[in-house]
């Protein structure tokens, strides 16, 4: 079981309120991702749940019982830190065994769990090495192994992949998702990378300056961002947000249109513009188009390779069904 409820949680460092009153429910077995720009309070929120920081107000409930004042060790949560926080003087086996040893578990049972975890995480050959002799990805797996063997009510991950190179990150992302499917344990995952959020989450929590901007599944956030912040944060490349005369026909302050929802034509369209830099990825081509009556250049995605060059004149036509409208306060108009 791992149902976590945050009830009007606040956190102040001195006079600075990092987390204003915040409510959130995380259901058992869910993969929840906290995403937001750096410094928005994601780690703080995670550490409040872990018990490594004391809340300034509000209540944390784990499986229905009040855990606000319960020390971290007693909450039954396991955390994977950004720096991995492995114990450098212990072998991989001892690192993974540490929580079990602290719990005074019977050695035979310890061995059984370590073997099982090492098997799942491909660490069997490295059990007698020290963390210093492992690669980044392997260290990450040891940190995860140390969390798994405890069989916690929930896993907490704080930007676990940010120290890995891009290729490894994609691999580990899949491994963690697969682990979640297999264990079916609640996971709370913090990242500033919206791609990680979109690919892994059952439920995304978008944070800005300690506030929850929106909670929903990846596709809900993609299809119906509640405000300009979420619209601009979720999706890659970013949604084009257009103010001014181009938005006027849609009776709103700002319209948003994703790069993949704009059609390109050499002859006709709604907006006429000049092609700027193009990015050829092979599968897709992104180009930046400077339109006549839109201040910011628009990003447009076209599938495959296209024969368009720097300085060409081009016509764009947004897909009317995919236009997001926002009012003066930046909120979505349904």
């Amino acid at each position: 079981m791992g149902r976590i409820t945050l009830d009007k949680i606040t956190k102040k460092f001195g006079d600075v309120e990092v987390i204003p009153p915040l409510d959130l429910t995380i259901n058992d077995g869910e993969f929840v991702v906290f995403v937001g720009p750096s410094g928005c309070g994601k780690s703080t929120l995670l550490r409040l749940i872990a018990g490594l920081e004391d809340v300034s107000g509000g209540e944390i409930r784990i499986d229905g019982s009040d855990a606000t004042m319960v020390p971290p060790a007693k909450r039954g949560l396991a955390m994977v830190f950004q720096s991995y926080a492995l114990y450098p003087h212990m072998t991989v086996r001892k690192n993974i065994a540490f929580p079990l040893r602290m719990a005074g578990m019977d050695p035979a049972e310890q061995d059984r769990r370590i073997t099982a975890a090492a098997d799942v995480l491909n660490l069997t050959d490295y059990l007698d090495r020290r963390p210093g002799q492992l690669s980044g990805g392997q260290r990450q797996r040891v940190a995860i192994g140390r969390a798994i063997v405890r069989e916690p009510a929930a896993f907490l991950f704080d930007e676990p992949l940010s120290n890995l190179d891009a290729a490894l990150r994609v691999g580990m992302r899949l491994e963690i998702s697969e682990l979640h499917k297999r264990l079916k344990t609640t996971m709370i995952y913090v990242t500033h990378d919206q791609v990680e959020a979109m690919t892994m989450a059952d439920k995304i929590v978008v944070l800005r300056a300690g506030h929850i901007e929106q909670v929903g599944s990846p596709l809900e956030l993609y299809r119906a961002p509640r405000n300009l912040f979420v619209a601009g944060f979720i999706g890659s490349p970013k949604m084009n947000l257009i103010d001014g005369p181009a938005a006027a026909p849609y009776q709103c302050k700002t319209i948003g249109i994703r790069p993949e929802h704009i059609a390109v034509s050499a002859e006709s369209g709604d907006w006429k513009g000049t092609v700027g830099v193009s990015e050829h990825l092979g599968s897709d081509t992104f180009f930046h188009v400077k339109c006549d009556d839109i201040s910011e250049p628009l990003t447009v995605r076209v599938g495959g390779e296209v024969d368009v060059h720097y300085g060409d004149t081009i016509w764009l036509r947004p897909d009317a069904a995919q236009i997001h409208r926002f009012d003066d306060a930046g909120l979505r108009i349904a």
Partner: protein
């Protein structure tokens, strides 16, 4: 990349320093060895010729020899234990955020800057004096009889004085080590269910291993040769005669340079035995 030319240039430029250091070490060492085989009594006729191994045999067979070895080892061992235990506690304490941290840290380091002679005199006259010392006043305040520290509790007194001098050094080295510990490791251990004591034992202490090794090695080198503290307090009486103090007495009080030099050679051997032991026991901490 060092080229052949730059390497030989480096050798030529280092040569004067190397030769000087070598001379500095070798000349006294060779002179000590030379005198240890001579019958050299400056006030009773000077160099009276070849003595063979007489000096070595006499030095060891003197009734003062084994007690002096024992006193040396007791002082070194006790001071090491005291400075390490209190050094670790102080380092952990000083690492806590607190008001006036900078000043407190300077105060803790201060004793290290007091010359050994001076600090021993301060202890002897201001604290341990059986009539006017602070301890005597304290004892009397509680209605107890003052202790004559330097005669009745001579060894603990010396150990106390020397520990007071070396505690700052140990604290300083250990404090830098404590500060370099990654806080996330402690948090991870906390989440893993380790109590404060277990976190200390399983995480902090192993992390301090290298610093502890350095403290042990450096202090041992200096403690084997302590002299001023004994000279100004007990003058080697009441069982506080260390090996280096015994050598001093043989050379200056008995005016027997040959005998003292033989003692010096024994001191070198003792230092090496201790060094080998230490390297065996703690030296492996310095690898990796």
């Amino acid at each position: 990349m060092a080229t052949k030319a730059s390497r030989s240039a480096a050798r030529i430029m280092m040569a004067p320093a190397v030769v000087l250091l070598l001379g500095w070490m070798l000349v006294p060492l060779l002179m000590t060895l030379w005198f240890s085989f001579r019958n050299y009594l400056p006030l009773r006729g000077g160099d009276l010729g070849w003595a063979g191994f007489d000096n070595y045999v006499r030095f060891v067979s003197s009734s003062a020899f084994w007690p002096s070895i024992q006193a040396t080892l007791v002082i070194v061992g006790s001071v090491l234990v005291i400075t390490l235990v209190f050094g670790i506690l102080l380092a952990l304490l000083l690492d806590q955020p607190m008001w006036g941290q900078g000043i407190v840290r300077i105060l803790v380091i201060a004793p290290f800057f007091v010359m050994p002679t001076v600090s021993a005199l301060v202890w002897k006259n201001m604290f341990m004096d059986p009539v006017n010392g602070l301890f005597a006043h304290l004892w009397r305040f509680f209605g107890a009889d003052p202790i004559s520290w330097l005669s009745d509790a001579s060894m603990p007194s010396i150990v106390m004085i020397v520990s007071w001098q070396w505690l700052p050094f140990a604290t300083l080295i250990l404090l830098t080590a404590v500060q370099s510990l990654d806080g996330e490791q402690l948090e991870a251990a906390e989440m893993d269910g380790a109590t404060k004591l277990k976190r200390f034992y399983f995480i902090i202490l192993p992390h301090l291993g290298r610093a502890i090794t350095i403290v042990i090695l450096i202090q041992t080198i200096f403690l084997l040769a302590i002299f001023a503290e004994i000279f100004v307090t007990t003058g080697g009486a009441f069982g506080t005669r260390t090996l280096s103090y015994l050598i001093f007495q043989r050379v200056l009080e008995s005016q027997n340079i040959g005998l003292g030099s033989a003692g010096g050679v024994y001191a070198i051997i003792l230092a090496n035995i201790v060094a080998i032991f230490l390297m065996r026991i703690v030296g492996k901490n310095l690898d990796n």
